[in-house]
């Protein structure tokens, strides 16, 4: 009897082990195995992805795990192109510059440090995907891809148009929000400036050596034209009718540290109460 009992539960244990696990075979790890990155989305003749997704990537040039986030964003851009609106906010002690080294560049900003405190960040990398809600922070860059995917083919409630102009050392961004459907939300608008192709040092724990002296930093947050969290542009729950618009204009002097030719304006509108980003847009300043 005892032997039967022991044998029974040994078989149960082994049986459970066999049936309750999923083995992914080698060669099936990626969903688009033909390329090392996902194949670009074919938008010709098809309805393009209308909802554009903001990714706030809190990062630092001495953060060795942060390049994982950069790679995830690059993979998403490769697959979804203009639907990805990334902003890399260099912050925390991981962004402190060090004179005489590959880390001389100071990417830090006042707005970035403010957001670190507001979001109560506990480490880097940290990301927010289409939200400014601190409770939604994710420290796992691969999770950003999962969060991004939920907006696939979702129609936006508002569209955002941005027209940047440069004159006399100042940048002006004219932003127009258009309600694609009737909208009763309270709305806030944020307008940032980001810069691509900044060559400077970066620690990458997956690299040998770990310090990459000529790392290409993209979507680096440079400043906000509207404050770190933007400004209210609709502070009531009155219905904004379909096709109604809200127009705003922001001007700020641009810094001599920037290469304006590599800069873009990022504008995004979000629900003031839920903090969900409803639509984002990114345009080259040279356009």
């Amino acid at each position: 009897m005892k032997k039967t009992i022991i044998l029974t539960f040994a078989v149960l244990l082994a049986g459970l082990f066999i049936v309750s696990c999923d083995k992914i075979e080698e060669g099936e790890y990626l969903k688009n195995p033909n390329n090392s990155q996902p194949t670009p989305a074919d938008t010709t003749g098809q309805q393009p992805l209308l909802r554009k997704v903001l990714i706030l990537d809190f990062t630092g040039h001495k953060c060795g795990n942060c390049p994982k986030g950069h790679k995830i964003i690059a993979n998403l851009e490769s697959a979804y192109h203009e639907a990805v609106v990334p902003v890399a906010i260099h912050c925390t002690p991981y962004a402190i510059p060090q004179a005489g080294t590959a880390f001389e560049t100071d990417f830090r900003t006042e707005e970035g440090e403010y957001l670190v405190g507001y979001m109560e960040l506990e480490g880097l990398p940290s990301g927010l995907v289409n939200t400014l809600n601190p409770l939604s922070i994710s420290s796992a860059p691969n999770e950003w891809a999962t969060m991004f995917a939920q907006y696939n083919n979702v129609l936006p409630e508002l569209s955002v148009e941005v027209v940047p102009t440069v004159a006399g050392g100042s940048l002006t961004a004219n932003v127009k929000l258009t309600a694609e459907v009737a909208c009763s939300r309270k709305l806030s608008l944020c307008v940032y400036v980001v810069e691509d192709n900044i060559i400077s040092g970066q620690v990458d724990y997956e690299s040998d050596p770990e310090t990459i002296e000529n790392y290409v930093h993209n979507h680096v947050f440079r400043t906000s034209l509207s404050g770190a969290l933007g400004e209210n542009v609709k502070d009531d729950n009155q219905e904004l009718a379909k096709d109604a618009t809200i127009e705003k204009s922001y001007t700020k002097a641009f810094s001599s540290d920037w290469n304006i030719a590599n800069c873009k304006v990022v504008a995004f509108v979000y629900d003031t109460e839920t903090r969900e980003v409803l639509q984002a847009e990114m345009v080259d300043i040279s356009e």
């Binding site: 999923d22 080698e26 001495k62 994982k68 790679k71 891809a145």
Partner: protein, 553 residues
């Protein structure tokens, strides 16, 4: 009057039970519980990097209430964080608030135990499952679900569970299922009941379900881990060993690689009166399992890796604590304890105890899959290694000697020396920082003024050329019936930056009576790391008052 009548109606059934219980002790109705509140008032102190908080005062509080009647028991826990103390897990303010995060009911008889609600559980040494609470780290990964334990025959036990883990005020994404079985032959076989030879085997299996929805990777919905263990003993000798295997589990911890995980540990002990020996070794590769593949830090951990290094209580010895490395580590520990007999030359009149320990931890040897795929690349098998392969990189080493001696009825001393090597970049997650080599000395003396009054003094010193340089600590503690008073100063006199040679002065007192304790301190706390069982949290620098109140009833 109405309120009194209301309360009488509510509690009358309980009062009647009390009346019935006389002469039937097994049906006793019991209420018990505990309460603890830790409050801290923060001052800004730029010299030590202590930030001011908008709230000025932060607090962590909880209260447990449990009732039991015969074979039934039930409990509930209230917790309040208004707001969470600095340094405790609280990303984005997730932990702030007040609520009832834990409730449970339990039935136990001779063979069967059933629990529904929140519970903690460990299978074997924890390699497949350890759900636990550690308030000092802010860890609570209790499982909300159901658990059944059954004794088939004496010495043969099986348990199964299903549920979701606690994630702050919510639940984890993944669903856990687990089963554990164990046979202790000494209990099962009557002829071995009183034998000095002890033998037992056990096995566990845990599976986690989390729907995969990643646009880039094909992820397993179900991740399973299993382990086998045995324990052998004879007289004062005991050996415990466990091996665990985890199937592919791409996650934030391992950078989304598809490599399986393995862990092996063995712990041998020998003890007799006045002598104790511990020998341990542990080898781990890719053995982090969580209820959410994207969780990080101390959130929703399922697997647990027992620590291989010694836990130190003296402040400067615990300055650079070791944090377990689930992605790969090999460690070994040897500990020796001997008490020289009373009356012997070295033992003296009251006996002398000497403790020696040595621990060493390395990385494991990993090789790249091929020339074009760096080790640990996402979306690949990750790397190659083999069981027990040890790498060349030293993570941690400590050598410690401690001598405790009672000199007379009034005098007691404890002297310790520690030599430490600490791989700062790996264990603190930084880059470009020098590894720390330090020598640490401790002298502690206690003088019993009377049977009820005692004065303890302590001097500790750390000598190192790395990190913040040398430290020295002095402490005085006076105890009397129900009261204690402490003052200590931790001085970073050797900091290469002269302006940072700060005194971290602390004063405090406390009152203890029965199950009640209240303690108030004021002073500076240096930035550091606190670890319990190989799991750590960052402790930020602070300056201010701290009040701790606890009670058990």
């Amino acid at each position: 009057m109405k309120r009194f009548l209301f309360l009488l109606v509510v509690f009358l059934p309980a009062i009647q039970l009390f009346a019935q219980k006389e002469g039937k002790s097994e049906n006793k109705f019991n209420v018990s519980g505990n309460f603890q509140s830790d409050l801290q008032y923060y001052f800004e102190d730029q010299k030590i990097g202590a930030v001011a908080v908008d709230e000025r005062l932060l607090s962590n509080s909880y209260a447990n209430f449990m009732i039991s009647y015969g074979k039934f028991s039930a409990g509930v826990r209230f917790e309040g964080y208004y707001n969470t103390l600095l340094g405790f897990p609280n990303s984005g303010g997730k932990n702030d608030g007040f609520g009832v995060p834990s409730y449970w009911a339990n039935f136990t008889n001779d063979k069967l135990e059933v629990t529904v609600g929140h519970f903690y559980e460990q299978f074997g040494n924890g390699l497949t499952l350890r759900s636990y609470e550690e308030k000092s780290l802010g860890i609570d990964n209790a499982i909300l679900g159901a658990r059944v334990k059954y004794t088939i025959v004496p010495g043969v036990n099986i348990k199964g569970l299903v549920g979701k883990q606690r994630y702050y005020w919510d639940l984890s994404d993944g669903i856990l299922r687990g089963v554990d079985g164990e046979i202790q032959f000494n209990e099962m076989i009557k002829s071995l009941n009183d034998s000095q030879f002890r033998f037992g085997i056990g096995g566990s299996f845990v599976s986690k379900y989390q729907k995969e929805d990643n646009p880039i990777y094909n992820l397993p919905n179900n991740v399973a881990t299993g382990a086998g263990r045995l324990n052998i003993g004879y007289s004062g000798f005991n050996l415990i060993s466990e091996y665990a295997y985890k199937i592919n589990d791409p996650s934030a911890d391992n950078n989304y690689i598809y490599r399986p995980g393995q862990a092996f540990l063995i712990n041998a002990t020998y003890s007799q009166k006045g002598l104790g020996v511990i020998l341990s070794t542990k080898w781990v590769d890719n053995m982090s399992l969580r209820s959410d593949r994207n969780a990080t830090l101390s959130d929703v951990t399922v697997s647990y890796l027992p620590e291989i290094t010694r836990n130190y209580t003296y402040v400067l010895q615990a300055f650079y604590p070791y944090a377990s490395q689930p992605m790969g580590e090999w460690g070994a520990k040897a500990e020796f304890f001997y008490k020289f007999k009373k009356g012997s030359k070295l033992g003296g009149k009251y006996g002398t105890t000497i403790t020696l320990n040595y621990s060493r931890v390395h990385n494991i040897k990993k090789t790249a899959l091929n020339d074009s795929t760096p080790i640990g690349t996402s979306g690949t098998y990750g790397y190659n290694t083999s069981l027990f392969a040890v790498g060349n990189e030293l993570y941690y080493q400590d050598i410690n000697v401690e001598i405790s001696k009672k000199w007379s009825k009034k005098w007691y001393t404890n002297i310790a020396y520690m030599n430490l090597y600490y791989n700062y970049n790996v264990l603190m997650g930084t880059a470009g920082h020098d590894n720390v080599k330090a020598n640490i000395g401790v002298i502690e003396a206690t003088y019993k003024i009377t049977d009820k009054y005692a004065l303890k003094g302590e001097v500790q010193a750390m000598f190192t050329k790395q990190d913040k340089g040398n430290w020295i600590l002095g402490q005085l503690e006076f105890t009397m019936p129900n009261w204690f008073f402490t003052v200590f100063d931790n001085w970073n006199y050797g900091n290469p930056d002269k302006s940072a040679r700060v005194h971290y002065l602390n004063v405090g007192f406390g009152y203890v009576k029965g199950g009640n304790r209240i303690q108030l301190t004021y002073g500076k706390q240096r930035e550091g790391v606190m670890c319990v069982g190989g799991v750590c949290r960052h402790v930020p620098a602070s300056n201010g008052f701290a009040l701790s109140i606890s009670s058990t009833f």
